[in-house]
Structures are given as C-alpha cells and as structure tokens.
Symmetry: D2
C-alpha cells in the first residue's frame, strides 16, 4: 500500500505540529524554546571574545540569479563626496538608499512565509498575508528574541569534503556522526547551523545561476531532508540555518516541493535561516575544536515582513 507525497506530509505535520503548544496567539514558534537560562549558557560559550559575521555582503550582482524573481540588494547614493567636492565648503556628507528582496541575501524566514492547506503557523489563514504584509506571524517577534547558543555542524568537513555534492541530502545519521566527531552536544533551545560548503563553492565559482531558483527551475543543492523534522522536534532546536538557498535539499527527487518549508515553518513553527555564510566560522571552529558560541541574530523588525534581513553574529 503506497502513500502520496501529500499524505506523507500530512502525517509528518501531525507528528511535529506545535500549533497551540504555546497558546493560540503565539507567533514565536520554536523560538519559545529559548529562555534566559539558555542565553546564560550561550554567554558561557564566549571564551576568546572573537566575533564572526555570517552575513553575505549586500551587493547588486549576487546571490540571486536572473529569473529567481528576487531583487538583489540595490544601493544608490542620494548625496556623495563628489557632490561635496563640487560644491566646496568646509563640511559635507553622504547618504544612501538600500532596496532589496528581503529573502535575497542572508535572512530569516518569518512564520508567514509559507502556507499549507490554506493555513500558516498556529492555524492562521493565509489570507492574513496581503499586499499590506503579514497581519500575523510577521518577522517582528523574531527581532528581539533570536539570541541563543549556536552550534555549528560542519557536515562537509566531517565527511572529508570541501563542499557537499549538489545532489547530497544530509541524513540524520550524518548529522549525528558529525556532532559526535565534533564532540559537541546539541541542546534544547539551540540554533543549529549546518554547513554544507555550498555557498562558498558557488561564490568561488561565480556561478550564481546554480545557486537560486531561476527561470522556474528549482536549484539543485545539498541540504537537509524532511526526515530531519522529527529529529529537530525531539531535540528542541529553536532555529536552523544553512549555507545554501533553502536549508533543505532540492533536486529532481523532491519534484519542486519543499517539505521542510511546508511542515517545518507551517506546522512546527520552525524558524529557518538561509544564505548564511558559514565558512569563516567553520575555519575558526576547526582551529580550536569549539563548535558552540553565542549567536546574536535578530533580524530587522520589518512591519508586516514575511522575512527579515539579518547580520548574524557568532561570538565565541
């Protein structure tokens, strides 16, 4: 007896659902798993006082490829030093404007970013997300909450490669082996950062057309699969971020569906971080063998935003 994709997704959704778990008005989802104790633990992970930014530089030519439907960061000047020089005088100043798709570069998805069977997290109808933005589940609650202990799992390094092959779906067994290899525990309330090496590989190659969904085609990328969700649910992970386009593995076998989004964001209320640059952090972790740190990663509090740009900072 076979089941369809949608039947499996529905079953998975029932298994990991957090709807109602933190009350009918909750908009934080798994971020509820972060508390004060957790952050004291995070502060205790700061041992050398170094900081590493996990944000991709904001520039107009990456990381979205033409046809992705997303606008790369556009930066325009409204006052310049050239103007000041031409004008003369003792003082001058410069000013600028930034325009970008919120999901173009390093960002967190809000819990209003994905819908399943007409609903978003905590049983709210998708029609609450209109041209005026998200009336519920927007990114603002995330902004003042996302400081916790972060754990990097460098799957690529543990598997002995610079980056995972594009068709590689990371398995739970691989992740557990990597955790063991790194000798670090994943604890409830942690933010889990999974390194595939994919973003660094694409940046080195310059082939951004292979990074994002372009011209209607889904990307082929290494990432986690749907079977991760019960495991993350059990582990009490508060947020997960990857150095790829969509956190989850995408390829021919997934047929254009994104189960981690459909079930993770919608039913678990799991906050996903995408296009995180993890290579510098991975190098630092490998150098001293410490894979946990304080992660301060509150996004910009965009009213109605279905995502939020962020400069995630790992303090270790």
């Amino acid at each position: 007896m076979t089941t369809t994709y949608d039947e499996r997704v529905d079953a998975l959704a029932r298994t990991v659902s957090n709807w109602g778990r933190w009350g009918p008005d909750d908009e934080l989802g798994t971020l509820n798993l972060i508390d004060g104790e957790k952050r004291l633990q995070a502060a205790g992970c700061v041992r050398s006082g170094t900081v590493i930014s996990l944000a991709l530089e904001l520039r107009p030519d990456q990381p979205q490829a033409p046809g992705s439907g997303r606008l790369n960061p556009q930066h325009v000047m409204t006052e310049t030093g050239s103007d000041a020089a031409a004008r003369g005088g003792v003082v001058g100043y410069s000013d600028d404007v930034l325009a970008m798709s919120i999901h173009a570069a390093t960002h967190w998805d809000a819990l209003s970013h994905v819908f399943h069977r007409g609903l978003m997290y905590n049983a709210r109808p998708c029609t609450e997300v209109t041209s005026s933005g998200a009336r519920f589940n927007d990114i603002r609650p995330v902004a003042g909450r996302l400081v916790t202990r972060g754990v990097l799992v460098d799957v690529a390094r543990q598997l002995g490669v610079e980056s995972l092959a594009p068709d590689h779906e990371v398995t739970v067994a691989e992740l557990e082996a990597a955790l063991a290899g790194q000798r670090v525990d994943l604890l409830s309330g942690d933010a889990l950062l999974v390194r595939t090496g994919h973003l660094g590989r694409i940046a080195a190659s310059g082939d951004w057309g292979a990074f994002t969904e372009a011209d209607g085609r889904l990307p082929l990328e290494p990432g986690i699969g749907a079977d991760f969700l019960p495991w993350l649910h059990e582990a009490g992970v508060a947020a997960i971020a990857c150095d790829n386009w969509a956190v989850e593995h995408l390829g021919p076998s997934t047929g254009g569906r994104l189960p981690v989004h459909e079930v993770g964001i919608v039913h678990m209320g799991l906050v996903l971080g995408e296009v995180f640059q993890l290579d510098a952090l991975a190098a630092a972790c490998a150098a001293d063998g410490r894979y946990d740190f304080l992660l301060a990663a509150g996004p910009l509090p965009v009213r109605g935003g279905v995502g939020g740009p962020v400069n995630p900072l790992a303090v270790r």
Copy 2:
C-alpha cells in the same frame, strides 16, 4: 581675541584626531578599541539572559518627516497569501521587498558619512564617495566588529524627567553625575548609549515633524555637545548611540553645524548610532540597577554603504 567656529573645530580636531593611530589603512576607527578581552567582559554582563531590541520598527510613516530627504522604510509584497488562496493548491508562499534610506531608522553612520575640509576619516579624500558608494570607510568593517560591553546612561531619569527638553545640551558633568548615580563605570572599548527620552516622547506624540530635519530646517533636539569629544576620546569609548536623530544637540545655538559629526566621525573615527530606541532597556536597567550588558549591534554589510541599518540587541 575671539575664534571662529571653524577655528574651534580645527583645534578640537587636532586634540582628538585618531588619523594614523591604527595605521594608514585603518577603516575601523574607534572600533579598534574593542578586543577579545572586552567581549569576554561583555559576556560577563549577561546575568538574566534577557534580550532587548533597540531598533525602531521599520514602517513607512516614521520616523522621517516629509522634507527630510530620507525615505522611510517601504515594504511591498511580491507574493501573498491572498494570491495563494486565489490560486488554490496545497502549498503557497509569500515574498517581499524592502526599500529605505539607510539613515532613515535605527542605524550606524559609517566613517564615510561625513567630510571635513574635503577629507573623511584617516585622511581619505571625500571624492572616494561617489554614486557607486564609498570606496573606503564603508559600513562593512563595522558589521563583524560591533559586539562589546554596552553601558546605558539614562540622563533623563537621572535628571528626574521623562525626556530632556528639546533645547537641552547634555553636559559632560551631567553624564558623569548620571554614571555615578547609576553606579556603573564606563571603560575603554565600551559602547555608550545615552538616553534623552526624546525618541519616546516624539513617538508618543506622533509629531514626527519635530524629530527630523525637514524642509531645510534642522531639528531641535536634546543631545551631547562638542565638548563631549575630548572626554569620549580620553575614556576610550568605541561607539556612541542615542535615542535621537543625530546623537548631538541641535538647536538655534548650533547654527546648522554638527560638530560631533564633523570632528567625531571625521577626525576621531567615532562610530555614531542614531534613532536607537532606549526606553525599554532603560526600564529594565532601572528595575534591577544594572546598566551594563552585552551589546551585539553589527549592521547589515552593505557594500559601499555610508551607513548600515541595524537591529541592536542588548543581552543582559
């Protein structure tokens, strides 16, 4: 014998200049004063594990007033739940775009934001800031650096008012008295947050026209004065932020000049944070008497940006 404003500014600039102090290629300015030890100290300030965001919500109707020349955050949707509902089907998603003047809401000024006598920080010509952005001193170096111990000085509360009068220039003596009253030390490498109550007062009144420079007029606002700069220089403050439009006091007596910008940004390389929302933090500090915390406030790393939007997080 009298001196002109410009002569006084030049003398002040000589007193506090950091040009060359950290080498001819330096783009960090006073952020050099933050080191690993400092951040260990900052981590030690985390005692309850609570987080407070100091960012103003990003919305289209504040805080800039018409005529300020700056664009308030514009949020537009490129995919919605309404569309998903109209289209039908099992899954759907939403997406959005953000456009804003970088200096419109909560932000750090980059060291390329102000010029004095044709130069910016570390003797670089202002003509390095063109329509293509800042070739030097852009906001990127700040992005991975600005985690340190933060100290809130609640001048308004120490003076027994909800907010300082718009024509109040905070004096060094007032700040020192407030520090003493709060029983907290300001140390080298700290980020100093000065609360005037101004932003909260404006927000409560809804009169944003009184907050920003509008229609060519400078705002009237409480803030620090130029005599703060030698004191900040001596104290080794790494960055300063206020709950007003321009950090410094502006009013008829300043005649449209901004000495803290001209000397602080250009000659000291002092990083200024503007439109910080400090009221919730102040309430928390007043409640338990602890005025220091870990401040994680790395802005978005905008290539060529002469400022950077930021969601500053106080972890305490």
Copy 3:
C-alpha cells in the same frame, strides 16, 4: 420605496454595461470607440501647431500627501557630473532611476484598477490581478491606442470661478451648458477633459494634504457624479480625464464610495485619467476660443500594470 446605494449602482451598471459589446476577449473598453476616421478628425484640429503637456512634473514632494498609501516619484542618480569631475578625464555621463506609484501623478487607470462584485471589466474575476500584476485588462492595450480628438470643457471658467468649490459635484446640465458656452461639440470617440481648477488651486496653495486620500480619509474634491455615466455612454466618450485626484466628486455625501470608478471602469470599460494639469491648456483655449485638439496620451506600457504614467500632449 427606497433603494440602497448598491441597488442603484447595480441598476446603473446594467444601463451602461459594455461587457461583451466588443467581444469576450476585449481589453480596450471605450477606447474601441476611437478609429482611424476619428484620428483624422483629431489631426484636423491642429491649427497652430502648438503643444501643451498636461502632465504634472514628477517630483518627490507632490502630489500625494503622507498617508495616501502612494509613493510620490523618487528620482535618484546612479552616475553624476560631480563624479565625472572628481574622476577627471575627457568624457563623462550621468544616469538615474525613477520609482513611483503608478497612480501617484498624471496617469490613466487601467481596466484592472477597480473591481465590483468580484469582477473587473468584461466579466473577468478580480483574482486575475495578483502580486504578479494584472493578467487581463492591464495598461498595455491603452498604450498604442490613446490618440484621439480631445475636448476640454472648462467648467470652472464657464461658471465664472477660478476653481470649483471642493464640495461641488459637476452636473450634466453644467457640462452641457459649458459645451454650449464654448461652442464646441462632443463627438463619439472623443476624450473629454473636464477642468475643475482644483489641481491648480491646490498647487498654488501648497496644501497637498487636501488633494489626496490621506490617513484613511477620502478627499473632498469637485468632480463629476454618477449621473454622468449614462450621458457619457450615450455620447460615446472614449476616455475622460480631470484635474483632480479621482475624476469624480468626493465628499461626505459619497460616503467613501466611488460610483464612477465602480460602474465606469468596471461595467462601461471607461478609461479614467487622473491628476491631469489642465490650466495651461485652458488658458490657450480661452485665448482663441478653440476647445478641441489632437490628444496624444498613450501611457507607458507596463506589463501587468493596473495603471500607466503618461505625459498627455494636446496638439492644437
């Protein structure tokens, strides 16, 4: 026996409906009434060879007031002469970007701009207008069509005032009297331009807050009323434009409803032009007594646009 507003609108809609009149696939509406003969007639109206632009200058501070929900034209430079001067060299160039709400300044409404009982012109469901734009009835068909004979009716002048009072609803009798007073015939296929003097009055006063819908309040403006629609239908008017915000009279008595939009755009397929600057044209017409001209007013062909910016040219 009384009728409700909606019942009257439904009855009016039945009276003037053009659904199906030009086939089930039609997207032109009343622009179908313009043919080659009509344009020959329009060319015959060119007697002095003068041109008058009816477009409002595109600038960031008008005509929308804060709270209207529409973005005034924002113009930013991406290359400047200052940059060229700073760079030196023999040649240089400048470049720029324009961003605006399509309905912010002088524009035509597309037939996808308004919906009534879930439908737009020619019985198409409103759900064809998504975040991707209008799949039907967008502005493109208008772009290559809108050249015809224009007739200005200067109601303000005919009534002996500089501008109509804000609470003045222009009646059909007034319009007919004005036509007679101007000794000009309105013919099938014409574009009718109705001058109220309102835009000029607002511009002179600088009080743009009184011009547009702001902070949820509808404007109070002189304009035509719903009883115009059968008359326009009978006359075969191809398009109508006014020097106000919404063509139609808005005020307390209209209760926030816009019957000319609901019935005119949706059921008649009548193309409405808004924020047309008619004062210079009116002065020229008054000077020589000629009130007809060739109107060339094709908007920018925005794919999916529910309106189109236009520089309407009266050639006379």
Copy 4:
C-alpha cells in the same frame, strides 16, 4: 601628420556646435528646430489615422543584461484583486509601483546625460548634475516639445536584410540612398528614426546579453557613426532615435568611445532616442510606401532627470 581621436572630436565639435545659437539660457538644443508650422506639416502626415507605439513593453527581464548597471523595470503591486477577493465586500481596487533605470528601456537622453571636457550642452559645467539631479538641461523641457514630423529610414530593408550585422556602421551614403529608395524627404525640424533591425533581432533571439553594455564591455551593435553629425546638423534634424542601445555604432573600432554622444548631445544639443521599437512601424510604412508621420513623443517630465521614459506614438 596624424590626429588623435580627441583632436578629431574637438574639430567635429567646433563644426557642429550649437552653443549659444539659441541664447545662453537655452535647454532645448535641436528641439528649437521644431515650430508650429512644422507640427502643422506633421498633422498633415496623418492619412489613415492609425497609431503605432514605438515603446518596448516594460518588464523586469529586459532589455538590460546583468552587469549593465541599469535596473530593468520592476513592477510591484501594493493592492491586488486577490486581496479584494480574500477580504470580500462589494468593491475593491488594485494599485502598483514602478521602479526603473530611466535609460533602461525606451527613452530620450536629456542634454545633461553626457559631458565633454567638463561641460554639458550650452557650456554648463558638469558639476550642475549632482545626486540631486540635473539643475540645468534636465528632461523637462523636452516633455512639452517633442511633437513633430517623424521620418522612418529603414536602412535594413533598403539594404535587403532583416537586420544589419552587429559590426555594421551605417554610412551617410546608405542613409541618403535609403531616403531616395523610400521616396521621402528629410526636412528641417524632423525627427529621424533609423531602423537597423537590431532590437527585433535581439528580442527574437532572447539574447539580451548581446544588446547592452554588460560587465564592463561595450555592446557590438549596428548604428550611425560620427560622420553623421555634420550631415544631421546641415539637415536640421531635431531629434534622432534608433532601434538599438546607443543610436551609434559600437564595436572594437570605436574603442569604448561614443562620439555621437560626446559631440551630438554635448555640442549640438541633439536629442537622442534609444531602444525604440521600430519593426511594426516599418512594416506599416513598407505596406503603403509612406514613411512620414506625426510623432508624439514627449517623455515623462522627471524633475532633474537626465533622461525620460517615453511611449513614442507614430500617428499616420
């Protein structure tokens, strides 16, 4: 004895200069050659009453290629029919925003678009074009002026090809032969439209990377050469537009310089129209042998604009 490129350009500039010709304050350049008589003549060219738009559809994926530095037209919705359907109720509306590089699609260059030896048209310093836009020679004067007789010269057809080869520089002799072949005279004050077939060829191929300057490389495109300028000067052409990216031929031999821009725009004050879609017009002209028409092509009056988007209408 040889001359350098710059010496030849300087000599050419002296030959065709119009600086001062229409007074020291002139901002119209060659558009001064259009007068009322000219437009009466243009109206006389309307014989069938058909209209053809010469504008490229505004869409986000063309005609600029990534790396051109120009933003293709971005269209976003701020209210939709989906929203109206989700909300319910009798009436609804839609609204939208357009953002684009002014020079991205069909446009006229303003006389502030190019500088030569630090000056723009009529001896104004290039430093008058700052981040605030052009203080002189902006696009506004063009908006109410550009209605005249248009003449299409279909060079491709006259040479018996669908489109000119990318390395084809159109010669004056070819243009004169084409005029003769088409049996049409070019008169003072006319707008000259030169068809190369290039835009249509690129559109058919979908290879927009071959159309615009991308990644620092100039395009290879058919167009006119610098020797056209004395001829245009002599003929009294008021404006010239082509179905290519830059009006003029670009290729290895031009070495990245654009003499028609440097001399034509700066010294002649010649208004250039770029990315005009001429194929439908050419087909109509070929069908009935009439190559002149009324051209109504006033751009949007952007304050400070160094160019203007336009929907040029040929009425014939």
